[in-house]
Symmetry: C2
Subunit: 316 residues, 2 copies
DNA sequence: CTGAAAGCGCTAACAC
DNA sequence: GTGTTAGCGCTTTCAG
């Protein structure tokens, strides 16, 4: 009997060896499906993620890595355009996964509540949910953006605009708020310019709008790095020098932000810690089914001062 | 009985309705695990992929999207550094997946042969395997690189070097060969400069080497876009103008290659077709277990002429 | 320590 | 059309 595989130490060594031998000879490997069925645990975590988005691709990679030590596998559920979320969230329970990570700042929490209600451990990644009944791991968007605003103010900027991505995204709101609040405190106006998406293209297009303003801002804060890259290229295409004429900041700390052609001043999300924390939290909840209250965890982003923010003379 | 779920049309409508009602009332959803166990088919495809690599992240996203219409799910297996492949390939059969996609140009085919021998449908993505016993879907690396070489030659370049990534990668070999062969035909030398990885950083570092050459090349062909981006920034950091002094070409057609700061001339992999073809081929093999011979499929890349290749005067 | 047997939720085969 | 039953490969319990 295959106690040899589950609790090897409790089986006579010689017998164990013989079992292993014949097993490899026959090419036998224990079947995880059978195990799942009987043990009611699959050691699989579902992760729903917009697989077309740069940021979430990184997140996914990081999650995949951090799940290895705990010996779980990730079952992928694409959440972007292609599949509507209804279908996704209905099909997840079929697979009897042990838990699910929802990586998105736009999937409404209401959508995942049924899952939680069914007793499945769920964790929101990159969406800070304050209602207390849902676990979440994310970066402190407000604090990060505020730090960037402080930097801008300290460097003598007088008029900034914020180029948002998707207005409903919790990240968008929190980041704008962080910028706006500090700027307001020090008497600097901050106008919200919508771009429609967290993408390079959206940022590039938004540059047209910024360039057309009668009163041109001396800094623009993008809601994400991707937008910032587009913004920088778009601004430059308009003959506007970055950062000499307009400073630009990002948010996320994508690898590209360090690329010399952009060298973007931004807030870097501590992706490794974020993802490690996410899987640890979830795995903990899976394996200790004590009714721990769902935790809301906020990590500090790291201010990366690079070269897209200039120092302005006080011309006031 | 739950024939209502599998073959709804063969069950009396009224009865079916009543079953559905009580089902939703009880929050019942058919359990895929039980189904897998009994039907010997899980509708899950394993995909092993280096989740930290830019290119493969895109591939994964595309695969995830194309798997939806066929109603399969992707089970992720990280293949980069963290986990050694031995473990990965041993654990795949446990999950009784219906098929596996190995996305990598460096995983040796020998490593996947045991899987294939066990009767599991396997498909190599982005690795062209010519041995005929393994299905593969990839872009025609040699032809693509040759097209780039032709472009360079036509534009009057006289001395090029090729900055490789990982020497053992099949993509690296084929791309170098494509460049070298055509260049040799027209009497242009092409030196191989190793960089050690398909990354921005590797490319950036390789720029030092290129800059230090006594006889500086007038063009450098990178084995991938990521390398090219690093190369461009590195070259510029050395005060070398791209493309005025040195032209640069890439390979892959990552989204960033279209970003204005680089605007890289490259070969774009038709990612959507590639991934669609990959899942279609694999699904076909899964569902029709006739002994079709494994197909080797090669798609043409698309030459994107942008602005990193200059026209040189014939100074000869 | 090690056999034997029940049962996880489903499909498939076989009656009715 | 619709009930019933035997496994799929494992874990778990209960005997020995």
């Amino acid at each position: 009997m295959s106690r040899a595989f589950t609790t090897p130490d409790i089986v006579a060594p010689d017998k164990r060896e013989r079992i292993y031998e014949t097993a490899t000879q026959l090419g036998y490997v224990p079947n995880a499906i059978g195990r799942s069925l009987s043990s009611q645990s699959s050691r699989i975590i579902a992760v729903v993620v917009p697989a077309a988005d740069e940021y979430y691709q990184h997140a996914l990679g990081a999650l995949a890595r951090h799940v290895i030590p705990s010996d779980y596998q990730l079952l992928l559920f694409e959440s972007f355009e292609s599949a509507d979320l209804e279908v996704v969230f209905v099909s997840i329970p079929r697979y009897h996964v042990d838990g699910v990570i929802v990586a998105s700042s736009i999937v409404p929490v209401s959508q995942v509540r049924p899952l939680i209600a069914s007793g499945l451990p769920v964790l929101m990644f990159n969406q800070d949910v304050t209602s207390g009944d849902v676990a979440s791991v994310s970066v402190d968007n407000m604090a990060g953006m505020r730090a960037l605003a402080v930097l801008l103010a300290e460097n003598g900027h007088r008029s900034v605009c914020f180029v948002g991505g998707i207005r409903d995204a919790t990240t968008d709101r929190a980041r704008y708020r962080g910028a706006f609040e500090h700027l307001a405190e020090v008497g600097i106006p901050c106008r919200y310019v919508p771009s429609g998406a967290f993408t390079y293209e959206a940022g590039y297009a938004a540059a047209d709008e910024v360039a057309a303003f009668a009163a041109r801002p001396d800094a623009v804060m993008a809601a994400s790095d991707a937008i910032a890259f587009g913004l920088i290229d778009g601004l430059r295409a308009h003959g506007i020098a970055v950062p000499e004429e307009i400073s630009v900041t990002g948010f996320d700390g994508l690898p590209q932000s360090a690329w010399k052609a952009y060298d973007l001043t931004t807030i870097e999300q501590p992706m490794q810690e974020l993802s490690r924390l996410a899987v640890e939290t979830l795995v903990d909840r899976i394996e200790n089914d004590e009714p721990t209250t769902p935790t809301r965890q906020l990590l500090e982003g790291h201010l990366q001062i690079r070269s897209t923010v200039a120092k302005r003379k006080d011309s006031g």
